[in-house]
Symmetry: C2
Subunit: 336 residues, 2 copies
């Protein structure tokens, strides 16, 4: 690994495209002095945004790409059409060793399919997995898979556990993260056939600090640092938790607005709630890791604003600095 | 249906047993003038609690049962051991027509197994399902299955949709509840094989107001009145949403306590938040329906206190008054 980090950013992805990604990218240069960015996308869209800004020109490279992956592009079109799509070009930079990692806020399914095809999988990995952190009591809980694989065998779930545990060690410094298996009860006979079989594999692995079954509520009580599940369940869990949080926040806002006294006091109320809001800010948790690939690939939420994109860039930098794919490969080799 | 409702209550189930269930039962008599209760359990535990209270003696029957289903009793022991368990005796009252419905706060798996065996399933029903209401934007969303069936075929999911739709019409008065299928995206090719096949069956059913795929966040935005999923996913969703809500409430409490001004203002803050707290109070939503059985069987949360048990009794009364099993049977017959 060189001392500087070269990150390729697909600036055409996401709901807001370059006008949100470019400002976040420029701000990230001030935060990470060793960072060099390669901005991939429409030169017509990027150049005016760069021209209007001040930035260290030697740390930014613009790489034009004439096409763009759309939110509803089917996998076949992603794989065989659009050879000059910004997402593909960014991944090719990683494949060719011209970038250490890649970040995109585009179509998740397309990113997964293209990354497998262009960057390739680590030796012996059967399925890549999407991992992200959720704020839970006292810390962050990393959950995987969040939607890359709807059907998973016990062996896939073991692989996710090994990859997730290695990744969390690198990303958080926790040398022995507690790994839980998402289930619907603590008893050994609970869950689907795959989950019961996975429980036996996880318990038998010497590479894991396995803490057993974790339920949906236990996850948010902080019972584990890594929680493993198939991508269907993980995606429902992730979106439901976002849904509940945003519903309760709007209920709270309405309740505080309904009282004339509290409305008048809102500057003080807001100030008191600020640390809690910051701790649980979804923006701060933006940036999911695609694990099992040969290089660092980070997916930002499509609806991410500038702050959220800045957080995702931070995750990408950390993953590159830790050389996450190599550490995951070590873990998988040691577990065999 | 007689004009009075006879409800059998297993008073030995739940974390707090008779000392919580008996007071709730006695209070329910004042709320539901047509209600008659049959309290099933240890006479030694029940009699002192009744002796200390004032109540209309002609509306309470005590039926002694010498045994009790425990939280960790395996299904075989539940089915073949303990012939005089309070849960079993309460279900036998329903089977024999001596009660219109049954309520228990005991072991969910045991209640499901015993209810199938003692009360029996409606004709043509393949799987019973557990349904409960979650508070979402603007209304309640009923979700099923919440844990009775970890593996479900497309036909099972269709059956859940038909049963849930009929039940919600009876319980809420909504003559055409919007039915959604829980999935991880809106596109038709999303989800597991079973979910994709279920989507086709639900879309083809003339008995359903089917609104398509609903994601975890869409559920909490109120996109459907009934959401259908397999019991593994439903149980994770239910517990995760409880987990997030309770985590955010404790964060909020800590934040308000940390400010001296807001601590001093806590009576006003509390008053402002009260309507929201009441609307989203898990106690108010206690009482899951076991659908697909020949009679009304309601499961209370094991950790339910007096208020929550009162809510569950209310659900049981409503389900008995509507003769829910007969309406579900009508719906299933019409859909064939």
């Amino acid at each position: 690994m060189s001392t500087s980090i070269r990150l390729a950013i697909d600036v055409m992805g996401g709901d807001f495209g370059p006008r949100c990604i470019i400002p976040a990218a420029l701000r990230s240069l001030a935060l990470y002095p060793s960072l060099h960015l390669i901005l991939v996308g429409s030169a017509d869209a990027i150049k005016p945004l760069l021209a209007a800004a001040r930035y260290p020109a030697d740390r930014i490279t613009l790489l034009p790409a004439s096409e763009q992956i759309l939110a509803d592009d089917p996998p076949a079109r992603v794989l065989r059409g659009k050879p000059d799509a910004s997402m593909r070009v960014a991944l090719e930079l990683v494949r060719d060793g011209r970038a250490d990692g890649c970040l995109s806020a585009g179509n998740t399914g397309a990113l997964m399919v293209l990354a497998r095809s262009v960057v390739g999988m680590l030796e012996g990995v059967q399925r890549p997995a999407i991992m992200a952190a959720l704020p839970v009591a006292g810390h962050d809980c990393h959950v995987l898979d969040l939607g890359a694989n709807v059907d998973c065998s016990a062996e896939h779930l073991l692989e996710f556990a090994l990859m997730g545990s290695a990744a969390v060690t690198q990303l958080t410094g926790n040398s022995s993260p507690r790994v839980g298996l998402l289930n619907i009860g603590h008893e050994v006979n609970k869950g689907t056939r795959e989950v019961r079989a996975a429980a036996a594999l996880l318990a038998a692995s010497e590479r894991l600090n396995y803490v057993g079954h974790v339920e949906g509520d236990g996850l948010f009580r902080g019972e584990a640092d890594v929680v493993v599940c198939d991508g269907f369940v993980g995606n429902v869990l992730l979106k439901a938790s976002e849904g509940v949080a945003s519903y309760l926040q709007s209920e709270m806002r309405d309740a505080l607005q309904a009282s004339r006294l509290l409305r008048w006091m809102s500057p003080w109320v807001r100030r008191s709630l600020k640390p809690m809001r910051q701790r649980n800010d979804p923006d701060r948790h933006n940036g999911a890791s695609l694990l099992g690939l040969r290089s660092v690939v980070i997916k930002s939420h499509g609806g991410a604003g500038e702050e959220a994109l800045l957080a995702a860039i931070g995750k990408a930098v950390k993953a590159c600095e830790a050389n996450l794919p190599a550490r995951i490969a070590d873990q998988l080799r040691a577990a065999r």
